[in-house]
Symmetry: C2
Subunit: 305 residues, 2 copies
């Protein structure tokens, strides 16, 4: 069965200016770098992109900047799910209006303890209000932030109600068992790993790819894993790439992850402005940044050795 | 020490039309009923008001409808905190622009595990960006929805940084010990109970009042408790009122609370449209509604007896 969405997508970070407005030229450069490194596309405006700390107007501007940077609509997969449905509809319609048909959609995430019935109607209302056959929705399972796990009965009901629209899921909960259970239950559904270390086992189990934060640093290695995961002849090369991905991921996770990812992009690009985060996240301190830079040097030395 | 904010405030529910747009005439009528029943004010657009399921444009319209219903700016205390800071600033500025100076403000609630440093900067940035000396902020502690408890060290830092602006807190976590600890540590700070059963003990401990959902049904009784809490001569009357409040609250909490509150308003007003909720919440089924009506009759019979 052909999957609607496959590949390595970057959960791209969002650089900001000193006044905390989006730094559009730096963002455009990052998008081009990600594609040059081998990403199939950029899943902008997600958790790593601090999208829920941006206004709707800023989100639209950022999506347009990615298109302005030369990426095609098919290379972009923005997050459009906010806490309220009217603005989720508006953001999704905006994406379609600029030729971007694939979106990653959080459930409305303020209320907790919500029933499957309520989550079904929330997604259904958005899809029906958008009312565009081109739309392809990737559900977003990230209970550690949303507080709302997306269970398999709910997913089954959404796929049945909106075939060809609800086409995949980004699973950021970090459990391979949940992903493989979805692969078994939903043939043709694109299961995308939100956690880098799971890309290899997920691809070997028939998964669709990944949308991860570490891609901002090691996109080329993610592509090696993606391309070689099912080829025994490339096992050594793939294992080495996955090990390097995991080293960067472990390093970012030894801090608060998103500020660390941004600091690592600052280190790579030489643009210290990348260290800025949007409240409520806090950027790394100069001391933390210096220690991080030393640890990056260690990882890089290991690569050469 | 004089408290900046005192009284019984209703966490008013938001009626919606069949197309899920706000029903402004029904909302205006509810606001007038709440004031007629003795509420000092209406804390609209909070959790009970399903504000985070409304767009920014809808929120502004609803605040203006309350003013249009004849309530004064001093009688209104809207929620203006959304997940992102630019729109929190816009909503707060809008309130000030229409003469409403007191707001209840959630912390930015998408990211979890955020540091006190991050929460401080989030609130500070909003207050500084609004830049209006008239502003009075009631912090909103509701960790069961926001995922972000507001600790006492954070509150102390905010009060010190913004004296006369950060003037109170709505505590919806339901623990009287947390409220009395704040009363002891922050003299002159308005501690408002978010849970009806705690109004009496909180007032007796020196609290400022309440912002509660059951006020949509028993505002007059809340006023009785508020006015008589510190008067031994009125102890019996106050206890009876608190018992009736608790009966309504226990009933609403035996369902999902917000849909039950709305169904109970539908029962009181005879307007079944009040039963509608916004996704992801689900309104009571006809069977649940019938059972609820019977239980209300039981409570009312108890009152007469």
């Amino acid at each position: 069965m052909t999957l609607a969405i496959t590949g390595v997508y970057s959960a791209s970070a969002t650089p900001v200016n000193a006044d905390l407005s989006p730094n559009l030229p730096a963002f455009a450069a990052q998008c081009r770098w990600l594609i040059d490194q081998g990403c199939h596309g950029v899943a902008l405006l997600g958790t790593t992109g601090e999208a829920n700390s941006l206004s709707s107007a800023q989100r639209r501007t950022i999506l347009e900047a990615a298109l302005g940077a030369g990426l095609s609509g098919d290379q972009l997969m923005p997050g459009t799910g906010v806490a309220n449905i009217p603005e989720t509809v508006e953001l999704t319609r905006h994406a379609l209006s600029v030729g971007v048909t694939r979106v990653v959609m959080l459930p409305p995430f303020y209320y907790k303890g919500v029933s499957d019935e309520g989550l079904f109607h929330a997604y259904a209302r958005v899809i029906e209000a958008v009312g565009d056959d081109r739309l392809k929705v990737v559900l977003y399972h990230i209970p550690q932030m949303s507080g709302l796990p997306l269970g398999h009965d709910l997913i089954e009901r959404l796929i049945a109600a909106f075939p060809g629209v609800v086409v995949g899921i980004k699973d950021s909960a970090g459990r391979i068992e949940n992903m493989t259970a979805m692969l078994a239950r939903f043939p043709g559904f694109s299961v995308l790993a939100g956690a880098d270390p799971l890309l290899l086992p997920l691809m070997q189990a028939g998964g669709a790819g990944c949308i991860t934060a570490t891609s901002n640093l090691v996109a080329a290695q993610l592509r090696v894993v993606y391309d070689g995961a099912r080829d025994p002849a490339r096992a050594a090369q793939v294992a080495a790439a996955q090990a390097r991905i995991n080293a960067y991921r472990d390093l970012s996770n030894s801090y608060v992850q998103i500020p660390a990812i941004k600091a690592m992009i600052a280190h790579r690009t030489g643009d210290s402005g990348w260290c800025r985060t949007l409240p409520p996240l806090v950027g790394l301190s100069p001391g933390e940044y210096a220690a991080l830079a030393e640890k990056i040097a260690h990882i890089q030395a290991g690569e050469i050795a």
